[in-house]
């Protein structure tokens, strides 16, 4: 164990965070030094928080310095805990209370058009993520977190799951690559996570390892809410095994592709047109559909070019994908709009759904539009189109009444 432990971030562009330095001393009790941007308004409450937390971990002699740029209490708590865990051995966790509004579950086939990545060690990007209404929010423990920050990020992500309201977005966490990612699960499974993303997934066994570990934690903590899985395929091998991965567990509800690593793996530069990844994307869509789960596309990395993004999403939709990753909140609206059904698609879907409802009312076993028979998967697809149209504001919720049809 080190004698001095630090955690958090400081520097010119850092906001809503803090940098904590903890030094265990031989005697003289606790001394706390707070340099805070909001000290006049929150200095006393920050002091109190520090004292309570040190006492919780049984620390009696220490020098604690907090350099604060407006960190919320759950951030302060996480940083102090992380610093403490560098200087003492403890299994205790200092967990903030779970907001009642964060206790919600999601469904297997909910919309997953947009999933917003948030670096797991950057609190300022987390606070307002939910107000931009992505379908899902990913607290990322993998690529966006520096290796020496992995431990403190886990604690921060755990606290964020308790304390940040994502306003109904699906609560997702991307763990680290298996096997080290298995350790991340302890920090997220008990805190109402809805879905786990498994990065660089190459086979069904990796999914099963995650699934098993989740079940163990759930059993231990008496948790009965579902936790779904979204493997991300980022290699040639993963693409070949896509169907095996998709069908490996009933908890897999979607499967994504990560093109940055995939193109590197096959030795082709990533191009704008994306010819080099056409096979992989189609393979992923086909495998996911065959398994009855959602195929999800990669991210688009130029956050300033909304027109190019729109084109990419339209292409993605035409390949059969149901959603895409976002790395900036501005991308959400564009993605939702581009995944929304076109007028022609809506009109067609309305006819089919109407025919289906009428057939049901008349007790007919067969649905038909004009002279054409309509199969159940087509009805299901049409219902999905209607739901999407309603959720993007392209169709009124009472569309059947409005039309008087």
């Amino acid at each position: 164990m080190d004698k001095i432990g630090t955690a958090g971030n400081k520097g010119k562009s850092v906001r809503s965070d803090c940098f904590v330095t903890l030094e265990i001393t031989e005697s003289k009790g606790i001394s706390i030094d707070i340099k805070s941007k909001v000290g006049k308004l929150f200095g006393d409450s920050i002091s109190k928080l520090c004292e309570d937390e040190l006492s919780y971990f049984g620390i009696e002699n220490a020098k604690l310095t907090v350099e604060d740029t407006g960190a919320l209490p759950f951030v302060l708590m996480a940083r102090i805990e992380a610093a403490i865990k560098k200087v003492i051995q403890t299994d205790k966790q200092y967990v903030p209370k779970m907001l009642p509004e964060n206790v919600y579950q999601t469904e297997r086939d909910r919309f997953r058009r947009s999933r917003l990545y948030l670096p797991g060690n950057t609190p300022k990007l987390m606070l307002n993520a939910g107000i931009h209404k992505p379908d899902g929010i990913i607290l990322d423990l993998e690529d966006s977190v520096a290796p020496d920050k992995k431990e403190e990020a886990k604690i921060l992500v755990r606290n964020a799951l308790c304390q940040i309201n994502f306003y109904g977005a699906e609560r997702m966490v991307r763990i680290n690559q298996i096997p080290s990612g298995l350790d991340d699960l302890e920090y997220v499974v008990p805190y109402n996570v809805n879905l786990i993303l498994i990065p660089k997934c190459e086979n069904g066994d990796q999914v099963l390892l995650v699934d098993k570990k989740i079940m163990e934690i759930k059993a231990e903590k008496g948790i009965d809410y579902p936790i779904y899985l979204m493997p991300i395929i980022e290699s040639a091998k993963g693409v070949i095994n896509a169907y095996e991965i998709a069908t490996s567990s009933k908890n897999v509800v979607a499967m994504a592709i990560g093109l940055e690593d995939y193109t590197a793996d096959i030795g082709a530069p990533r191009s704008k047109e994306g010819k080099e990844s056409f096979f992989a994307r189609s393979q992923l869509v086909n495998s996911a559909r065959a398994a009855g789960i959602q195929p999800i596309d990669s991210v688009f990395s130029d956050v300033s070019d909304m027109d190019a993004l729109r084109e990419v999403v339209i292409e993605s939709k035409s390949l059969g994908f149901d959603g895409m990753g976002c790395i900036h909140p501005r991308q959400i609206k564009v993605i939702h709009e581009a995944f929304a059904p076109t007028e022609a698609e809506i009109e067609k879907a309305k006819k089919i759904v109407n025919a289906f409802i009428e057939a049901n009312e008349k007790g007919l076993g067969v649905v038909s539009v004009g002279s054409k028979m309509i199969d159940p998967p087509v009805v299901k697809r049409a219902q999905r189109v209607i739901e999407l149209a309603i959720s993007t504001g392209k169709l009124s919720e009472n569309w059947r009444d409005d039309n008087g049809e």
């Binding site: 809503s16 006049k40 308004l41 409450s45 606070l127 107000i131 909140p329 501005r330």
Partner: protein, 518 residues
């Protein structure tokens, strides 16, 4: 501060005397109607001025001495050169050399670039600032280090104070990007071009002595004559009056912050739902990133529906110029140009007119433009549950900003404040604002990223937007939401010493700022 304190119409305790002058406590909006004649300049005779029209003197020092500078005088400057101004700092350096004391600096606004003036406040050259105190000057004032009591006025309130004699300017020193030897001047040309010079209008029309300082002397006549040389005593030519890139931004930019874009988007949607975007409407917005994003959304809506606005008052940026040049806006009335496109447009476009504070904000004018405006977009450092607003202090109690035109703008028909619900952990909606700069009855709508609060007095807006699908909440709900996220902040501690008075647009005292306990 031995003066008696009385409770004014918004419940704030204010002194009846400041800097030895008797004060009227705020009585309510439009309730204070002073009588009498407006102030005037001393009679002069043109025979006493050079018949060849050449009023150039050798140096600023010479000009000040010629103007009879002496202890206790009030010296005014304008802020069209914004954070690139070199004249005010040079002015007080020269005054310090001359050795006069106890002056009142009466700028139309100050900027962080004026930090060197602290030295002259410390050594007694300047007794106090009556104007705005930004950044370092604000901190200095809050720490109780200014000898006299600072007085903060709105842009319109400054004009009012000059006109009704509350403030008498002894010497106005006017930085002019272009001038001729007679004293005609404008801000349109020259290396330090800034657009209009409207903030200096009251100064040169009411000051006893007027000195023009320019770095771009042209032959008579300097056209256009935004400032008329017939009011000018002397002209001083210097190397440089300003730092161009700090005067106007090369280009102003829409915010990239997704949260602020969301607020701007909600603001445009709210205006639309409330039926405020219609043919012939008028609006004013600032040059902040959120305002510009709002303007962009507004422009989109107008183009889609073929709606044309009649006029916009500014704070002008390229975004307003775009509307004018694309035909969605008939007139720009420009009190201040914020970027190079605005300056260019004022030179080139017939319908882009420079106006002054007299036209848009002055309390002693026979009406002003602001009350006619349909949509007014403003900011605030704090708002309270009674919709009162603060723009001068932060929640930590420090004076940080001037009032600008904010109080004047509150008189528009629909006053909308797009602001974040909290900044770094500090909630923006409070039980009570730290400093009350504007009464809640004039603030109609608060738009945050987490919801919109409409002043209960505006039943019309509430009715119009109730089925809009917008996140309309009560202001208490918004306050609770912020405190749930941030925690409830403590109140800063003050001593009893009054360091600054906040004037309302009519010259009455609406609140005071006290010395901070550090």
């Amino acid at each position: 501060m031995a003066s008696k304190l009385v409770k004014n119409a918004v419940g704030r305790l204010v002194p009846t005397e400041i800097n030895g002058k008797e004060q009227v406590p705020f009585k309510g909006i439009g309730k204070y109607i002073p009588k009498g004649k407006k102030a005037a300049q001393p009679i002069v005779s043109s025979s006493q001025f050079p018949s060849n029209g050449n009023k150039i003197v050798g140096s600023l020092k010479e000009a000040l001495i010629q103007a009879g500078i002496s202890d206790g005088m009030t010296i005014s400057t304008h802020h069209h050169l914004r954070n690139g101004d070199l004249v005010a700092n040079e002015l007080f350096k020269v005054i310090h050399e001359i050795g006069v004391k106890d002056l009142v600096w009466f700028p139309s606004a100050s900027f962080p670039c004026h930090e060197p003036i602290i030295e002259y406040l410390e050594d007694g050259t300047i007794n106090r600032i009556e104007g705005s105190m930004n950044g370092p000057l604000g901190k200095f004032t809050s720490q109780g280090k200014m000898k006299g009591t600072a007085v903060l006025r709105s842009h319109g309130g400054r004009y009012q104070a000059i006109q009704d004699g509350e403030v008498h300017i002894d010497i106005a020193v006017i930085a002019a990007p272009t001038a001729d030897p007679f004293g005609n001047a404008n801000g349109l040309y020259g290396p330090s071009a800034c657009g209009g010079l409207g903030y200096a209008l009251a100064d040169y029309r009411y000051a006893d002595k007027v000195i023009i300082v320019t770095d771009n002397l042209v032959d008579f006549p300097a056209m256009p004559m935004q400032i008329e040389g017939n009011y000018v005593d002397s002209v001083v030519v210097v190397d440089k009056i300003g730092i161009p890139e700090k005067i106007v931004s090369g280009t102003t930019r829409i915010t990239k912050s997704p949260d602020r874009l969301l607020i701007a988007d909600l603001t445009a949607k709210f205006c639309d739902a409330a039926g405020l975007i219609k043919d012939g409407f008028s609006f004013q917005m600032g040059a902040g990133g959120t305002s510009l994003a709002f303007g962009n959304n507004l422009h989109k809506i107008m183009k889609e529906r073929g709606i044309k606005a009649r006029f916009a008052v500014g704070g002008v940026t390229k975004y307003l110029v775009q509307m004018l040049e694309e035909g969605t806006l008939d007139y720009i009335l420009d009190a201040q140009s914020f970027d190079l496109d605005a300056v260019r447009s004022m030179r080139e476009n017939e319908n882009h007119k420079d106006i002054s504070i007299f036209h848009c904000y002055d309390y002693h004018a026979k009406g002003n433009y602001t009350t006619m405006m349909d949509i007014m977009i403003l900011g605030a450092t704090e708002v309270d549950v009674n919709f009162n607003g603060n723009v001068v202090t932060h929640s930590d109690g420090y004076l940080q900003h001037g009032i600008g035109g904010w109080q004047n703008c509150l008189h528009a028909k629909n006053v909308i404040l797009p602001i974040p619900l909290f900044r770094d952990r500090i909630p923006v909606i409070r039980d009570e604002v730290t400093t009350l700069c504007g009464p809640g009855e004039l603030i109609d709508v608060i738009i945050t990223e987490r919801g919109i609060a409409i002043n209960p007095r505006r039943t019309d807006l509430i009715e119009k937007t109730k089925n809009s699908g917008l996140p309309i909440k009560t202001i208490e709900e918004l306050k609770d939401e912020a405190e749930k996220i941030c925690g409830k902040p403590a109140k800063p501690e003050f001593t009893d010493d009054i360091v600054a008075a906040i004037k309302w647009v009519d010259g009455t005292v609406i609140d005071v700022v006290k010395k901070i306990k550090e």
